[in-house]
Symmetry: C2
Subunit: 153 residues, 2 copies
C-alpha cells in the first residue's frame, strides 16, 4: 500500500485532476426522487419543454458526484481530516444526461491550524467540467490534512 500523503506533501499552486464520471438518466432521477423531487430533475417530458430542453441533475447531485471524484483523486490519497464546510458553490451550467464530468482543484492557501498544530489547512478552489471543457460548477473549501509527526494533543 502506498503511503498516504500529509499536509507537508502539498504546496500553494499545486493542482490535482480527477474523474471522469458519466452521469446517467437513471442516476439523475434516482437522486432527485430521494433528495430533490422537483419536476425538472424528475421528468424527461417536463424537462424537454423547459428552458434547458432536457433532464438536468440536481445541483446537490453535482456536488455529490464532484465529492466522489475528489475523494478518489485527493482525499483517499492523503491523511484527510475532512472539511468544516464549503464556500461559494456556483452551479454555472446544467449537468445533463450523458455528461461526462471531471474535476480539478488548486491549492490557494496552505498553513497549519494555530489551535491544533497537527491539523494542516489547505484552501482549495475546485472546478467541475463537462466533456466540452465547460465549467459546470465551482466551489471553495478548506481541506484539513494531518501534519506529519505532529502530536495529537
Amino acid at each position: 500500500m502506498k503511503e498516504l500523503k500529509h499536509w507537508e506533501d502539498f504546496e500553494v499552486g499545486q493542482v490535482v485532476s480527477y474523474g471522469p464520471y458519466e452521469v446517467t438518466k437513471d442516476e439523475i432521477i434516482d437522486f432527485a426522487r430521494q433528495f430533490d423531487p422537483q419536476p425538472f430533475h424528475l421528468s424527461e417530458k417536463f424537462a424537454k419543454s423547459s428552458l434547458l430542453g432536457g433532464l438536468s441533475a440536481s445541483g446537490w447531485h453535482s456536488c455529490a458526484i464532484w465529492m466522489r471524484m475528489f475523494v478518489e483523486g485527493w482525499a483517499s490519497k492523503c491523511m484527510s481530516l475532512g472539511a468544516p464546510g464549503v464556500e461559494s458553490v456556483r452551479w454555472l451550467k446544467p449537468v445533463m444526461v450523458g455528461d461526462v464530468l471531471r474535476g480539478r482543484s488548486e491549492i490557494l492557501e496552505h498553513r497549519t491550524s494555530k489551535s491544533r498544530p497537527w491539523v494542516g489547512l489547505s484552501v482549495m478552489r475546485h472546478e467541475c467540467l463537462n466533456q466540452n471543457d465547460e465549467i459546470v460548477m465551482t466551489l471553495l473549501s478548506t481541506q484539513m490534512t494531518r501534519v506529519r509527526g505532529a502530536r495529537d494533543e
Copy 2:
C-alpha cells in the same frame, strides 16, 4: 390543488419550517458508498474508534437531506426557479445514525432581478437542526421565484 405561491407572497423576516427526517445507518452507508467513500462514513467499526465515536453522515448527505426537506417545505409550494448556488455551507455538528433532522429558513433580502423582472430573488439563511435542537448545518442561498403576472421575455 392549492395555488402555488409567487415571489410577492413572501417578505423579509418570514420564516418557514420543515421536516422531520430520520437518518438511518443504511442511508448513511449507501450515500457514502456512492458519493463519499471515506471510512468514517462507511464503517461503523472504524467510526467507533474515531473522535466522533460513531458513524456520521457525509456533509453532502446532510445537504441532500436538507434539500429534500426544503423542497417539501418551500420549493414545492411556490413557483420555484431554483438557485444559482449556495454560500457558506457550515457543517457544525456531525449528523449521526438515528438523528432526526428538521430545518428552518428565514428570508434576509427580497428583490426582483433587474435583468429579468419576472424573476424574484430571496436571499435566505437556512438552518438544519437535530432532535436535541442543536444546529448541525447552516447555509445561505438566493432562491429564485416567479413574479406574479410578470412577462417572461
